[in-house]
Symmetry: C2
Subunit: 312 residues, 2 copies
Amino acid sequence: MNEFELIAKLVPNLHKNSAIIQGPGDDCATIDLGIPGKLLLFKTDAVVEGVHFMPDTDPVKIGRKALGRALSDIAAMAGDPTACLVTIGLPKHFDPEFVFAVYRGINSIAQEFNVPVAGGETTTSPKEIFISISLVGTIPRDRQISRAGAKRGDAIFVTGELGGSISGKHLDFTPRLGEARWLAEHFTIHAMIDLSDGLAGDLRHILHASKAGAEILSSAIPISRAAKQQAGGESSAKPPLLAALTDGEDFELLFCLSPHDAVPVLDGWKKNFPDIKIKCIGKITREPGLRIRDKEGIREFGLHGYTHFAKS
Amino acid sequence: MNEFELIAKLVPNLHKNSAIIQGPGDDCATIDLGIPGKLLLFKTDAVVEGVHFMPDTDPVKIGRKALGRALSDIAAMAGDPTACLVTIGLPKHFDPEFVFAVYRGINSIAQEFNVPVAGGETTTSPKEIFISISLVGTIPRDRQISRAGAKRGDAIFVTGELGGSISGKHLDFTPRLGEARWLAEHFTIHAMIDLSDGLAGDLRHILHASKAGAEILSSAIPISRAAKQQAGGESSAKPPLLAALTDGEDFELLFCLSPHDAVPVLDGWKKNFPDIKIKCIGKITREPGLRIRDKEGIREFGLHGYTHFAKS
């Protein structure tokens, strides 16, 4: 049983009540606490030694990544982060310098986005270090963006360049908080997500929630230099396009909006964020599934990569 | 360096802003989100395999404990829990039945206190299972109870019976949410904490925050049957009084209020919560330190137990 199958079995039995506007299944939970004009965003995210960082990873970058990941989920809702808590699990005989450095990383990104560290907990974790971040934020009541609103014909956009984040970006990304808020303030975003599972995986989350399909133009997918370099270095490495489609932890934005907004969004973005790339990579279709079009035609891109040629 | 020394070094450098009413150093963080008449409570707490539960612990009880611990911290602020998130770290080849049982435990206590499970995250944790709970709640703006308000002459109360929780209660306690709210609605609570580090340790947290001392009457400390049984069973076990003073995870309430309220609180409590014991165990003093009075006089009770006889 994988993570997604497990969650699908757990979610129907969770205790619910009317305070929950958006429960499990999106980047953040959304809660009505009676804040005038606003809803609460609530998010938790953990990084674990040996999975999200290695014993020799620079601890400043571990801290930065831990909070950055959670901030990226607030960005996916075009939200405003309010405060975070840090839970850190440490072996009994921990190295204080390691912990101070982790917190320097947390504080640097906390300061950058003005997210106070309101507290947390230090606990014993005998075998591996973990850092779990809790984050609250807000969104305007009339601007709830979920994964579920993509419509047939919508243009699909992605920011930045994708793939190969393991060679550095997964520790050193910038959550797209300001960019997402700008998008939501100027356009009607039908669906948005941050890229943590890889472009294909996260687009599939949008398609599943929106009960739709998508057609992507292979040549439009922005491939990072890291993905190209990795492919050049080792014969066993993923081809760059596959890396851009399936590598995780890009922490860029993937969003869908009306095709009428496609040109204005590109123009406005380039004026406001000239240093961050943005690409229209395809469109939402009624036919389910994820298809990729290249010179040879359209191919279905399934959970295990390309599955078969489809009619072009 | 122990946990408390570590936290003392970390806290001054954390990023802050004006949304934070109460930052690190109390049972929950308190945040001003503009909710009319209310403040947000924000808490995180983790349980780790091998520390807070064993590989053979009933997973339903692990789930119950994980959320119960965080709810007990909301009780310490006399707050109302709103919603929780669950982060669970699992080995790659996890047993789905174990996870379902953990969630049955979480759901049972979530239902009991009407705290919706708004989502969470499943992550890989190769070597040990951990469950990190995030919790938001609210308190009335005019009813902030911290650890810092104990005043000289205050009566010190404790609920329940203490010590020996390792033989079962640490997995099977009831957070005192309704009781704490009743206390706060009917009396002016000067300081309150939930007992997780043990009576002496948690009282010391109040004394430290309130810049005060305390004198406790040895014969008034409510000792649990479990603490007595453990002492009877093994010659190496703690004497029952020492267990009641220093064993952790009782998850009872410890609070201080004006001596004028002492009799009304006892009378009201017995009417409203006849099944839960409450005891006045001593008083807050101007002289710092924690002293315990018994037939033989007054003894200082330091971090390592009784340190010396003081003048009686």
